[in-house]
């Protein structure tokens, strides 16, 4: 199946999800669904660098937060439509991703991860001390209750949901296209053995920079609508550790070698968290992540996808 037909199918599935939501007619579904879709994008973006190239990035929150604060910055300057803001966040975070890659990709393993974690702290500190975007006080982002599209009244949360749905489809289609391209093969050699990759003619540094740029750009895009979603943005919520932990845990639970992994992981973990938030307490979220991660490391170290592949390879008993 080529990328075009995959995109068509993914779009169809997206439309089906939207139709289901409309049929349900429940505002809460959009609120919860937005978060899950956002995590699908974050997990997919993380997986481009972490899963395909094997570089574990703990700095998801930095990119997500930067994306969100690009929106806040523009809101204070001159409010623009959200799709435009998403593109701007993609550019900003792509550039930051490139810079981070250039500075840190000579580090490997834990050292790289620590450097990305440090970057998240640095960016958050910068934002806290930047008065224009609200500093530690945070910033209010006001939006109308409804939007009008060609005479059609659309609830704002539905609008945000649709935007995130489109982004999720784009992210998944891109990840899948990368996976099957020459780029994807190159990424896999970096994950397997960088020295051997270079000896085979793979320009590893260039590929890693492509990965950090793409990954950062998608994370930034996921963050761009967030201020409009939450209404009041403060640094602690934009740069929360939850984003880093979730975007690592989700691909790990789903499986990191294919685009399906982050999708499955994000839907599974995201839904479980939403369910727990409503029924128990929002504080249980990270506990669930922790428990599921431990369980999967023991039961399925290669994620659900790995587990299924193993079963398939073994064949019926």
């Amino acid at each position: 199946m080529n990328t075009l037909s995959f995109s068509a199918i993914a779009t169809a599935v997206g439309l089906a999800v939207l139709a289901f939501a409309q049929w349900l007619g429940l505002d809460y579904f959009y609120f919860a669904g937005y978060t899950i879709l956002q995590f699908i994008v974050l997990a997919t973006a993380w997986n481009i660098l972490g899963g395909y190239c094997g570089y574990v990035n703990f700095g998801t929150a930095a990119f997500f937060g930067l994306g969100a604060y690009t929106t806040v910055f523009m809101y204070k300057l001159y409010p623009l439509p959200i799709p435009l803001l998403m593109l701007m966040s993609a550019v900003v975070c792509g550039i930051v991703g490139f810079g981070m890659g250039y500075l840190t990709l000579r580090l490997r393993g834990a050292f790289f991860s620590i450097a990305t974690l440090a970057m998240a702290v640095v960016v958050q500190t910068l934002v806290i001390n930047w008065d224009f975007v609200g500093g530690s006080r945070g910033a209010y982002i006001l939006h109308p209750e409804n939007l009008e599209f060609a005479g059609l009244k659309v609830n704002y949360i539905v609008y945000l949901f649709v935007l995130m749905l489109i982004l999720a489809v784009v992210a998944l289609a891109s990840a899948r296209a990368i996976e099957r391209s020459q780029l994807g093969f190159g990424f896999a050699t970096i994950r397997d053995d960088e020295l051997a990759a270079e000896a085979c003619g793979v320009p590893t540094l260039r590929l890693k920079l492509i990965a950090t740029t793409l990954s950062g750009a998608f994370m930034g895009m996921a963050g761009a609508p967030f201020p409009y979603y939450i209404g009041y943005l403060q640094p602690q919520s934009a740069f929360a550790l939850d984003y880093a932990v979730n975007s690592i845990a989700m691909p790990m639970i789903g499986g990191t070698t294919s685009w399906v992994g982050p999708l499955v992981g994000a839907v599974l973990l995201g839904s479980a968290q939403q369910y727990a938030t409503v029924t128990i307490s929002s504080a249980v979220n990270l506990l669930i992540v922790g428990l599921m991660l431990v369980a999967f490391v023991i039961i399925a170290p290669n994620g659900l996808i790995g587990l299924v592949q193993k079963r398939l390879r073994r064949g019926p008993p």
């Binding site: 896999a188 053995d193 020295l195 051997a196 990759a197 000896a199 085979c200 003619g201 590893t204």
Partner: protein
């Protein structure tokens, strides 16, 4: 005749340890050079400096008439230097065919006038696997291979880049006699196709039967270079290997 590879006075140190100390080496096109030396004499370091994995501190490396100092390892591969690793380093998550696809995609296709279509790539992978006798295992992953098969894969992958110079770093260590003969035959066949080969090896019978010329490294210095039968009788070489 101009040399294909010209190593000029290169040195490399790791902290206080001098791994290479002013090495000069020339390899002519189509030649079969054996490179020997006791453990820790700097053979692999020399290979790493030629291939760009390590940077030499002094001196320079010329390949095919051009200075290649400062080029990254992958750029040297594009120019036509290929190597196999002392310990095989296959891409674990890929099938054997995909392992060979990497140099085809990234090196052969990157060269001008050598663009392969996708269908050609598959055929070329099969051809290479067939050459090293691994065609039946094309879809398997490297974990399923035996030691000798792993070495063959390593060589096949180096060959896939269609190099001018192939450096085989101890590709026979730990193999049985018949397996060594297999690898030797393979290397000779490659040489007949016009590929220059540097063979780094401890197994003297293999080195002696393969090499047209022999160079000896001891403690980072080249102490002998010449016809194999003369070199092995050289008093310095004998002293380095056996002691006084």
């Amino acid at each position: 005749m101009t040399a294909l590879l010209h190593v000029d006075n290169i040195s490399k140190r790791f902290g206080g340890f001098v791994a290479l100390d002013g090495i000069d080496l020339e390899v002519q096109p189509g030649e079969r050079l054996g490179l020997i030396g006791p453990n820790g004499s700097g053979k692999s370091t020399l290979v790493n400096c030629i291939c760009g994995t390590l940077r030499n501190e002094t001196g320079s490396v010329r390949f095919d008439g051009q200075v290649i100092d400062g080029l990254a390892a992958h750029q040297r591969t594009h120019r036509g230097v290929a190597r196999s690793f002392q310990l095989p380093r296959p891409f674990h998550s890929m099938s054997l065919a995909d392992n060979l696809r990497i140099p085809l995609l990234y090196t052969v296709r990157a060269r001008e006038g050598m663009l392969h279509a996708h269908s050609d790539l598959g055929a070329r992978c099969d051809e290479l696997l067939d050459l090293v006798g691994l065609a039946a295992k094309a879809k398997q992953i490297p974990r399923d291979l035996t030691q000798v098969e792993m070495r063959k894969l390593e060589l096949a992958r180096a060959m896939a880049a269609e190099p001018k110079l192939l450096i085989a770093d101890e590709s026979m260590a730990g193999l049985s006699h018949s397996e060594i003969d297999d690898i030797l035959a393979l290397l000779l066949r490659l040489n007949e196709q016009g590929i220059t080969v540097i063979l780094i090896e401890h197994i003297m019978s293999a080195v002696m039967s393969f090499s047209q010329r022999l160079a000896v490294l001891v403690s980072g210095k080249k102490i002998a270079d010449g016809k194999p039968e003369d070199v092995v009788r050289d008093e310095h070489v004998v002293r380095a290997y056996i002691g006084q």
